[in-house]
């Protein structure tokens, strides 16, 4: 105890807030300059930005006349929220989309809570029956009015395109990656050709071909739905990218893993499904999620084929003569929503990596 009394404490300026500041922001003369510059930049950007977004903005009201134009006019977003979220989908049928959202939300929350039982079943439900239920709910059929895809739009359409692109492109990508590494020459050749062709063209070209050239090759009256054409394009495009990501994971696997599983008497598919893929997919999670985020953002390109995705519909509602001149608000809102989704995926990926980490 007496020793403790005599112990000399470090000088105050090394501790607490001041110490932290000294160590991290003002350690050398150039760091000090950079810090001051940074603070000045933040000072000149942030207050006007916050004023525009929050303090001078208009939130209450229902028409353009109630916008003071001092800051953002969020009334524009508020009044058009139904269009922005659901597109031109008939109002009396919106419950169908909402039902699917609720199902997805419940299943998603169930999967995210740790230590719950039967997660496998919930996952399987999301992968197989859920998409079928969605197709039935969204487009209609027995008992439900038919809602054509030309009425789909807004955030709903973005989620449909991104969802289909993400969910279907992963298995196709895995198959293509396996195919490309296959010892069967034709399988390998076809996979390589497929990957290189789809990866070698910009998505905008794929969509443009699907929308403009494809109908000319079809006989009169035979019309594939425009959305389906776009979906197939997005799906193959992202599958080609994922195939290369997955192939990277496969190549990173030590040869011993292959040899050990063959020695254990596993067939090719068992070896892949039980030993190789689980390990190699885990290694490339960051790259896979990176591709998913890219797909999500790429969905905005469907605007060029006349589909109104989230961004497209915001531009579209801005052409209502009653709401001309609010493109800034629209773009800021779109950016915020896109960021929320992409950041969510990114966090999920980190979470997944931690959970699957076996300390290798």
């Amino acid at each position: 105890m007496t020793n403790a009394l005599n112990e000399i404490k470090p000088p105050v300026i090394e501790l607490g807030i001041i110490g932290w500041l000294r160590k991290n922001l003002f350690s050398t003369w150039y760091n000090t300059i950079l810090t001051i510059l940074g603070i000045y930049l933040l000072y000149s950007i942030l207050p006007p930005l916050f004023n525009w977004i929050f303090f001078d903005a208009n939130f209450v009201g229902s028409s353009k006349d109630e916008c003071t134009k001092d800051g953002a006019c969020w009334i524009f977003i508020k009044q058009n929220l139904k269009l922005i979220f659901y597109g031109l989908y008939p109002t009396e049928e919106l419950w169908r989309i909402n039902t699917a959202y609720v199902m997805l939300l419940i299943a998603g929350i169930y999967l995210l809570i740790p230590n719950l039982k039967n997660k496998g079943w919930v996952g399987a439900f999301l992968l197989i029956p859920f998409p079928i239920i969605c197709v039935y709910l969204f487009s209609g059929g027995a008992g439900l009015t038919n809602v054509e895809t030309r009425l789909w739009g807004g955030l709903f359409l973005t989620l449909v395109i991104a969802g289909v692109g993400i969910v279907l492109s992963l298995p196709i990508g895995v198959l293509l990656a396996l195919g490309r590494r296959s010892k069967l020459p034709i399988v390998s050749l076809l996979s390589t050709i497929f990957i290189e062709i789809w990866r070698g063209v910009p998505l905008i070209t794929v969509l443009f071909m699907a929308s403009n050239m494809f109908p000319l090759f079809m006989p009169e009256g035979v019309n594939f739905d425009k959305l389906i054409r776009a979906l197939i394009g997005v799906m193959f495009f992202s599958a080609a990218y994922l195939a290369e990501v997955v192939r990277g994971g496969l190549q990173a696997m030590p040869k011993g893993q292959y040899e050990a599983s063959q020695a254990a008497g596993l067939t090719y598919w068992k070896m892949m499904a039980l030993v190789i893929l689980p390990q190699s997919l885990k290694m490339v999670i960051p790259a896979i999620i990176g591709s998913f985020i890219a797909i999500f953002k790429d969905t905005t390109l469907v605007l060029i084929i006349g589909l109104f995705d989230f961004l497209g519909i915001i531009q579209f509602v801005g052409t209502n003569p009653d709401w001309l001149g609010f493109s800034h608000e629209g773009y800021v809102f779109a950016a915020a929503v896109f960021w929320i989704f992409c950041f969510g995926m990114s966090r999920y990926s980190q979470n997944l990596e931690k959970k699957l980490d076996t300390g290798q």
């Binding site: 134009k69 009044q79 058009n80 139904k82 269009l83 597109g87 031109l88 109002t91 054509e148 030309r150 443009f208 929308s211 403009n212 050239m213 109908p215 000319l216 090759f217 079809m218 006989p219 009169e220 009256g221 019309n223 425009k226 605007l303 060029i304 084929i305 006349g306 109104f308 497209g312 531009q315 579209f316 509602v317 801005g318 052409t319 209502n320 003569p321 009653d322 001309l324 001149g325 493109s327």
Partner: protein, 341 residues
């Protein structure tokens, strides 16, 4: 490249067109109970959404008029939003039956790629907007000006032609999207902003102080906009053409959406009586019911009604009709419909 593209287009068009010519769009449309109308992805006043997500605008009303004529109901239309690039393909491939998407009627479009223009529902033309305090009152005073405009449209070419023809210097400031052009002009990065006059009027409402700007009187290009149908299907083209003409003629004879019911009951004017479907059997010639033109006027309105509702002076678009080519020929415009008899 261009000839090659044309060759591909006309070849594919001729293949695709064959069955269409035999089937007859009007019969197909009647039997399926609706038709598809290609519109824009949002041009204020021409085809844009209202807050409930319904299409409105003067281009949309051409489709509604056709629907009223064929079905006696203006809402048997499915609207297909199209980009400028895909609009003609969509028409040739049969995805749409009428293209009503502020499309300029030109010789090359009419002659080469299997399209037929059914008339003109808006006479547009390129103009210039300047700040009032610049003191400029005519486009001829724009020598040396910096000009904001959109990239890669005919607007850019017309502008080049205009300045070259008048021996004036100019500095183009070019952007991809209309919103960017408006912002640049509003921030003073250029002296004048040029695009079609209908566009100028709509974009002006986006400026910080719309009243501080003025559209110059000169119109430097001809942009007659109108509905388009597939070539080689005369019956359907007639229906679209006369639906538009009926709206124009109804206005010439003072038949409006609000007075049509009473006027038709009282009229002794044979032209009005024909428009009301009371005599002349105009519908039979078009394979339509006799009330086709009456339905158009009562359900959609005459041309003046439609114009004032969507782009007239009391709308945010605010295009004055008097003195423009879109006025009726009786008021000095060029809008003139052949007699519906």
């Amino acid at each position: 490249m261009n000839t090659f593209k044309m060759w591909i287009l006309s070849l594919t068009a001729s293949i695709v067109m064959m069955p269409a010519a035999f089937a007859g769009t009007l019969d197909t449309v009647k039997s399926q109970g609706f038709f598809n109308c290609g519109v824009s992805q949002g041009v204020p006043g021409f085809s844009n959404p209202d807050e409930n997500g319904n299409w409105s605008g003067i281009d949309v009303d051409v489709c509604r008029a056709v629907s009223a004529a064929v079905f006696g109901d203006p809402d048997k239309v499915k609207y297909v939003p199209l980009t400028a690039k895909e609009r003609f393909t969509a028409l040739q491939a049969g995805e749409i039956d009428v293209l009503s998407r502020n499309t300029t009627w030109t010789l090359s479009r009419d002659a080469q790629i299997g399209l037929e223009f059914a008339g003109v529902n808006f006479y547009d033309g390129q103009g210039f907007m300047v700040r009032k305090d610049s003191g400029i009152s005519s486009a001829m005073e724009l020598d040396g000006a910096s000009v904001c405009t959109n990239l890669g449209t005919t607007t850019e070419l017309n502008m080049a032609d205009f300045f070259r023809a008048n021996g004036m210097a100019y500095e183009p400031v070019v952007f991809e999207k209309a919103d960017e052009v408006v912002n640049a002009y509003d921030e003073g990065r250029c002296d004048t902003y040029t695009t079609d006059k209908s566009g100028l009027a709509a974009q002006r409402t986006k400026l910080a102080d719309p009243d501080a700007h003025v559209v110059l009187p000169e119109t430097i290009s001809k942009e007659p906009l109108g509905p388009v149908v597939r070539e080689g299907d005369g019956d359907w083209a007639d229906v679209v053409r006369w639906s538009l003409n009926a709206m124009i003629e109804a206005e010439e004879f003072g038949l409006t959406k609000s007075n049509a019911k009473t006027e038709c009951a009282l009229t002794s004017n044979p032209v009005v009586a024909r428009l009301c479907g009371k005599e002349g059997a105009t519908g039979a010639g078009l394979n339509l019911g006799e009330s086709w033109s009456y339905d158009i006027v009562t359900m959609v309105g005459n041309y003046g009604d439609v114009y004032e509702t969507h782009v007239g002076e009391n709308t945010p678009v605010g295009l004055a009709r008097a003195g423009s080519p879109n006025a009726s020929y009786k008021n000095g415009g060029v809008l003139y419909a052949p007699p519906a008899r």
